[in-house]
């Protein structure tokens, strides 16, 4: 659990390119994890103080799942999380309408798209 929280925290900080991010883990339920949580981040990270944004679901891999894969849940444990890439994209780049992602509108792509030479790296910055 500690590892899970650290990894998610580091991910959010790196992804939103901020030094600190407030996170809130709410108890939830998924069949494949136990315990399960949904994660909110403080919207300060994208310049909207005072709000919480749900960004992902996560948890510790359910013992049944580990057993189903032929491993012993007494010996192994793991964590997992799932996050929608389109949601992350909307939040980070302020894109209001999800449907535009699939419309294939060239004008939209020229506006929101990225230069192909703008390759994200941890050292050189993820986005320009």
């Amino acid at each position: 659990m500690g590892h899970l929280k650290w990894v998610l925290q580091e991910f959010c900080k790196a992804f939103f390119e901020v030094d600190e991010v407030k996170m809130r883990f709410r108890a939830s339920h998924f069949p494949f994890t136990e315990p399960s949580m949904e994660v909110d981040i403080g919207a300060e990270a994208i310049g909207k103080p005072g709000q919480w944004l749900e960004i992902l679901g996560c948890g510790m891999v359910h013992p049944n799942v580990i057993r189903n894969c032929g491993l012993d849940p007494e010996k192994y444990q793991g964590f997992a999380f799932g996050v929608g890439l389109d949601r992350l994209t909307m939040l980070k780049y302020g894109i209001p309408d999800l449907r535009a992602f699939f419309a294939g509108d060239l004008k939209w792509l020229r506006h929101y798209g990225f230069s192909m030479l703008d390759v994200p790296t941890m050292g050189g910055g993820l986005s320009s």
Binding site: F32, G82, L88
Partner: protein
């Protein structure tokens, strides 16, 4: 009375034939068939006529109306074709020109692709590898092994894209999450495992606008507004998992 009609008809037909562009034809239409147009005026006179003349006059006006409408439509079609031809002539692209240099000729990276690259970069930095699996999965991989029981709502036909059942009754489906990739990796690799599994996932959603019953590649995240069944394809999910010895 019938002379008036004949005169009016020939006048209008002449005007229609003389109309040089679409705006002119529209003006003629308004002046004749519009609410206060000349043909419509005749109709309003109908009430003042003696009963025995009403029928004949009404028929005559309707015939006139039909002829004028027909002439208008025909002329309009000719003018539209001419307008299109003119446009095609002036806007013709010279395909032998060399490719234009500069930013206009350069493609752009889709924001979701960009974000995927960013996400992979971050997790790669933490030591996670990228794992991939098929978009078409089995019931077992997508649900059973993930501890999702047969009666779970996500397994119903209206939530998941299933293929037609095979002879033995088993069905393939389009994966609803990338968790099966995690299962496949756990089965085939010895722990410790540290992976992320980015990829497309497919879930059925209903469209909010009620009149659409065609499959659509557009989708809405708004689950409250389901009015009608249609399909959605899309959404990329990443699933990351870490498995290690206790």
């Amino acid at each position: 009375m019938s002379n008036d009609l004949t005169t009016l008809e020939s006048e209008l037909l002449a005007e229609i034939a003389g109309a040089g562009d679409l705006a002119a034809i529209e003006a003629v239409r308004v002046a004749s068939l519009g609410k206060k147009g000349r043909v419509s005026d005749l109709m309003s006179k109908l009430g003042a006529l003696p009963n025995e003349e009403k029928k004949a006059f009404g028929q005559a006006v309707n015939t006139l109306k039909a002829r004028v409408t027909e002439a208008l439509d025909a002329r309009k079609a000719v003018l539209e074709t001419a307008a299109l031809d003119a446009r095609l002539k002036t806007e013709r692209a010279d395909v032998t020109l060399p490719v234009r240099q500069g930013p206009q000729a350069e493609g752009r990276i889709h924001p979701v692709s960009q974000v995927l690259d960013e996400v992979i970069e971050i997790f790669a930095d933490m030591g996670f590898a990228v794992a991939e699996g098929p978009d078409i999965e089995t019931d077992e991989m997508n649900f059973d092994k993930l501890n999702i029981p047969a009666e779970h709502p996500a397994r119903q036909d209206h939530d998941t894209f299933y293929f037609s059942p095979k002879a033995d009754g088993s069905r393939l489906l389009l994966r609803t999450h990338t968790s099966p990739v995690q299962i496949r990796t756990m089965v085939s690799t010895k722990p410790p495992i540290r992976i992320i599994a980015p990829g497309r996932v497919y879930r059925m959603r209903q469209r909010p606008d009620a009149h659409a019953d065609v499959p659509s590649d557009r989708r809405s995240r708004d689950r409250r507004d389901h009015a009608h069944g249609a399909l959605e394809v899309g959404a990329a999910g990443i699933l990351q998992s870490l498995l290690r010895g206790r």
